[in-house]
Symmetry: C2
Subunit: 163 residues, 2 copies
């Protein structure tokens, strides 16, 4: 499994609460699970699985498996910003939708509703409900866009419309 779009969200505010929620779902509390939950609470933003492997001294497979289990039960989630490793976080922390600049790597976190006009437009025109919580909106940020006239030269012929 790579992503759990339809799971009820479990927003918890401390490790014990997460552990209770976990048990309520019929899951057990293993050492790896406890360490992961504590680390996610301690983190101040989404972190890579690799980071957790190294800082917690756990097996890779255990980390990925548990992140997936927790995600399937609504406790955690992960986001992909372009290429590169996925970043994992607790549900309810640093949530929203992401803009990612593929030139400089800048990440902009938007509130959950800020892209609603975009979502509405896409749904009305194409019947597709977009979600940028799992895959970021990839593009070029303001600084990078204005800093590279060469880009305009190359991409211009796609649609020559006055910006």
């Amino acid at each position: 499994m790579t992503n759990a779009p339809d799971v009820p969200r479990l927003v918890v505010t401390e490790p014990d609460e997460a552990i209770r929620a976990l048990r309520a779902s019929g899951l057990r509390l293993s050492t790896a699970r406890r360490l992961l939950i504590e680390a996610l609470f301690a983190a101040d933003g989404p972190v890579s699985a690799q980071h957790l492997v190294q800082t917690l001294g756990l097996e890779e497979s255990s980390v990925y498996r548990n992140l997936e289990v927790l995600e399937r039960h609504g406790l955690t989630r992960h986001v992909h910003l372009g290429h590169g490793p996925g970043l994992y976080a607790l549900v309810g922390r640093d949530e929203g939708e992401y803009l990612y600049c593929e030139r400089c790597g800048k990440v902009t976190l938007l509130g959950p509703d800020e892209l609603d006009p975009v979502r509405d437009h896409i749904r009305e025109h194409f019947g597709h409900t977009a979600r940028f919580t799992h895959f970021a909106v990839v593009g070029v940020c303001q600084g990078c866009g204005s800093a590279t006239p060469a880009a305009a030269a190359g991409a211009t012929h796609r649609h020559h419309h006055g910006h």
Copy 2:
């Protein structure tokens, strides 16, 4: 390198033309290169690198390296639809922007301008120029969305009561 956003596009209509363009860029025509170009012309849509490896009997690294070289020189491109392997194609074939349904895998190819209103909105509000040619717009298609009322409720205002 993972992506070449700023390369002048080289749209060619037959293998020989691609080969001339390639030589004009100072590249050599190796067997692997020729086979790849021919296969991309023969394909009727974006294909995975793995598919090329198998059908052409080439080394993996050679395929990936050459797809990257060709992309850096504006002859090919690739797109990511959610998780799963990237899909490679000639520049000028099946181009546009993609909607990808993460439930059923359905892919919708939009014309190059169809998401301009969305792009404009995002640029005006967030100073970010979005490009959905490399990463698809991931979400839920009409069929899958209506089949799962739970999802529709969650998408607009995310509040959950037990179900």
